[in-house]
Amino acid sequence: MTELIRLSAAELGAAIASGETSAVETTQAYLDRIAAVDGQIHAFLHVAAEKALDQARAVDARRAAGEELGPLAGVPVAHKDVFTTKDMPTTAASRILEGWQPPYDATVTERLRDAGLVILGKTNMDEFAMGSSTENSAYGPTRNPWSTDRVPGGSSGGSSAAVAAFEAPLATGTDTGGSIRQPAAVCGLVGVKPTYGSSSRHGVIAYASSLDTPGPFARNVLDAALLHEAFSGHDPRDSTSVDAPVPPVVEAARRADVSGMRIGMVKELSGEGYQPGVLQRFTEAVELLESLGAKVVEVSCPSFTAALAAYYIIGPSECSSNLARFDAMRYGLRVGDDGTRSAEEVMSLTRAEGFGPEVKRRIILGTYALSSGYYDAYYGSAQQVRTLIKRDFDAAFQHVDVLVSPTTPTTAFRLGERTDDPMAMYLADLCTIPTNLAGNAALSVPCGLAPEDDLPVGLQIMAPTLADDRAYQVGAAVEAALRDRWGGDLLSRCSYAV
């Protein structure tokens, strides 16, 4: 059983296809693993053991009937609790949606099922995807498998912890300001924010609609590409979906070649405030890229220094509008409906009790930024900064094929360390936010352990809009070279490795 869960998703898919193992056997191996370790990690909010085995049996039956299935058919996946699932509860880790059973599947959910992926359950997250540590979950935090007194990142921290602890070979996430790349970096995984609009938001519980982007988590670049390809592509049910082919990410992950590529180091995403060990591993990764034949130059993106500020205006503004739907009338929690109170009073009591502190903070911040008298100074200015950041990216991509930076300024911080200091928490997204504001693609790939704490460091590779394949190609080259240097995957050094 240990052998099965050690396999990559690509290997697992091949082993299931060849009959060496079955979807049922694989699913059972992962369910056993979850039963053994999730008590310590708390990656899952809901484990759907019986339904997962039913899905696995269906895949095995389709295969037995001679049906031609995709490369991930029968491979298990952990699904972030922000995606609606009609046969499993969906809470976005909020009390206001406790026990909610959606009447429909998200497009991503539907496509996972169509590809024959087996959904093991729903993973923990920061409430409504607002946070960088998964400590904002109403159902308790998730722990980082590399060191259980550390956070697994966030908001998709349940997904990153599940994959790092070998509770799943693959996981889904959503990235609004870094919520896939940051947890992937601090858990030693590959995580990708695809081009905005190339993965569907239909059935994703909304945080900031102009930024929310579903994407994959995996233990290696090729597996991430396979999952990316499985659930991406145009969706008529998402009005901001891009009607364009999915970039050839799997092919790029297999190509793994950077010779002759031009790579730009973003000057503004390093220096003061960055952990020395993070910068050291980042510098080594850049030297590695040069040794592999890439031409590396320093690029200045001056507006990136205002990205964090712009994001913490735009994100909360959109959230204050999106979360107005939680009105205690049609679904979810209702508090104080005793016959004497008005709908408005019931609504206000329900929202006060159903939302956690960070969600309330962002709703109020967004309400402030959008109120008359402040709108131009805050929301208006933030939108202008967004234009400037886009221009910085456009100018940089005139000269280079991809941009690189550390994914996060520090390695995983300790549980509780930043919960009382929202601004310190927000800094975890410093390097990832520019890509969300501009809408282009970015990937995080492990580039070593920081010497001072032996915790994973991520290299962020940013590519132009709809050139996601470039990020995969560079990521795969780094991964292959480091695997040779280390004699194996970084994750094999994690105490939860099997």
Partner: protein, 99 residues
């Protein structure tokens, strides 16, 4: 001078339909003051002649074919309601009583 006062936070909480207790208002006012002071940085960078970007994609009206597709049936729509009466959502009183 603080960027935001406790009274302003109380007003915003009312607008956002959040019945916050006194101690939460105090805590929020202090935290929002720090956050708003930090995000005000956008005003230094933004310049008058820069057009705003509200969205990463240059999309205008998007249409899809006008086809009839199955939606939720009555029971599915009501299945997760906090309260149901006579096949409808039961909600607290919305309008004031007419004298």
């Amino acid at each position: 001078m603080s960027a935001i006062t406790r009274d302003e936070v109380a007003h915003l909480a009312r607008l956002a339909r959040l019945a916050l207790p006194e101690d939460e208002l105090d805590q929020l006012a202090a935290q929002l003051d720090v956050i708003i002071s930090a995000v005000a940085k956008v005003q230094e960078v933004a310049k008058g002649d820069v057009p705003p970007t509200s969205h990463a994609l240059p999309l205008t009206n998007v249409y899809r074919p006008d086809e009839v597709r199955p939606g939720l049936d009555h029971d599915q729509a009501l299945a997760e309601a906090p309260a149901v009466e006579d096949g409808r959502f039961r909600v607290p009183q919305i309008l004031g009583e007419e004298e």
